[in-house]
Point group: none
Chain length 223, copies 2
DNA sequence: CTTATTAGGACACATAAAAGACATATAACC
DNA sequence: GGTTATATGTCTTTTATGTGTCCTAATAAG
């Protein structure tokens, strides 16, 4: 699965240009022009990166940042027309990771996004880094699962699914959100594929499968 | 209240650098260079996070992990020297939440610590949109009810009903009104379904069930 | 005390998810 | 290029869970 970015910008011209550059660079781009729908989009796709314009009608970039930060520590880039230090402090306090001042070059923005992602990825998955739960250790480098000292092979989908669940521990994830993130937006099959892969993951997790909770009517949750 | 971390590392140089980074990030840092005093420190300060070097004289990181785990589920990060320790991790009892391989960047370690803390905190005190009453917290995101620290699973209807009551606190709600809002206008069944679901909600609310008052001849009220 | 109304329990029915079987797609190998 | 193995996705059956109805006991109102 490629990198996904949620782009929130009300000026159509800027949004389209930026989106094009990101697509060119291999990103999957979700676009919206206002803050309140941005939150809905976030919950639906769980993007790897969020780019927010500060100046937007109704719900501005700061407000969106606050809402997103309630949900996760996903990298956030704020786009600003103002360059005053007050704004910067305000934004950093709220949890934005970077500031890009308008006018900016889309190339530079993509470059910053990539370096931020790289940092975030290292931060999530540094080499040799592992996450454990119960008797299990997930090796983020070899994409393997170690269970009671034994190696358990995971298929790519199983691995992606497990990592997505782990990164959103304790959050209820709808089939929709899981599909969008692990399978991608272009997947147009039955949302029950998620069930099938959850089933297979549970089988491989064996004694630790209880961590994956079914949330009836919605989806799943990792605890 | 600031975050506190107990740092157990026998190499002075590493310990001091790491401690500095954590202090810089607003943490209160307790340091010690050996495993046995680590337990004493733990009992004295009850830190929010424990960072342990695996390789230590006398009592190693695994032993300390075991001791700490007897006391609580506090987040633990183990520092391992290169991947040669991977083999050791195989056979040992687990219980640490993360493993960071040396050499590591102190920045990354602080970042990991923060995200781990965030997860742990979310787990204990879910943020996001919540409504609380008495000892209960309703999480509008996970559709769950937390009662005296324990998660209580709500079915979709129970959740909708509870949220409707909460949104109209202190208002007497007729069965008709409840039906129309929670079941929808098209529902053509018996209005006594409301009673049944109120009953089930009360059972799940247990000690907080007194908030749901019966208004005889009309319906119910949440106080 | 009588009647109206609700609570509680038992049960039937509806819906959602798990399990299993199978078909198709993808990759690896000869 | 054809063959095999593996991974992925769909379909059907089984199981679990949620929902709604009914009946009886308890409780409140008149």
């Amino acid at each position: 699965m490629g990198k996904t970015v949620l782009l929130v910008e009300d000026e159509v011209r800027i949004r389209e240009v930026v989106a094009d550059y990101f697509k060119q660079d291999g990103w999957e781009v979700y676009e919206t022009d206002n803050g309140s729908s941005a939150i809905d989009w976030y919950d639906a796709v769980y993007p790897d990166l969020v780019i927010l314009d500060i100046m937007m009608p109704q719900m501005d970039g700061f407000a969106v940042t606050r809402q997103v930060r309630k949900r996760s520590g996903v990298p956030i880039i704020l786009l600003t027309a103002r360059s005053s230090d007050d704004d910067k402090i305000h934004g950093f306090e709220l949890g934005a990771d970077e500031y890009v001042t308008k006018p900016f070059s889309p190339k530079v923005l993509v470059a910053r996004a990539n370096s931020l992602m790289k940092r975030a990825t290292e931060h999530y998955l540094p080499t040799g880094h592992m996450i454990s739960f119960g008797q299990a250790i997930v090796n983020m480098k070899s994409h393997q699962l170690q269970l009671e000292g034994k190696q358990v092979e995971l298929t790519p989908k199983e691995y992606e699914l497990l990592v997505f669940l782990l990164h959103h521990k304790n959050n209820v994830l709808s089939r929709e959100a899981i599909l969008n993130h692990v399978w991608g937006l272009d997947f147009d099959g039955d949302s029950r594929v998620v069930d099938t892969h959850i089933k297979k993951l549970r089988a491989k997790l064996s004694c630790e499968s209880h961590h994956i909770k079914t949330v009836i009517g919605t989806g799943y949750k990792f605890e």
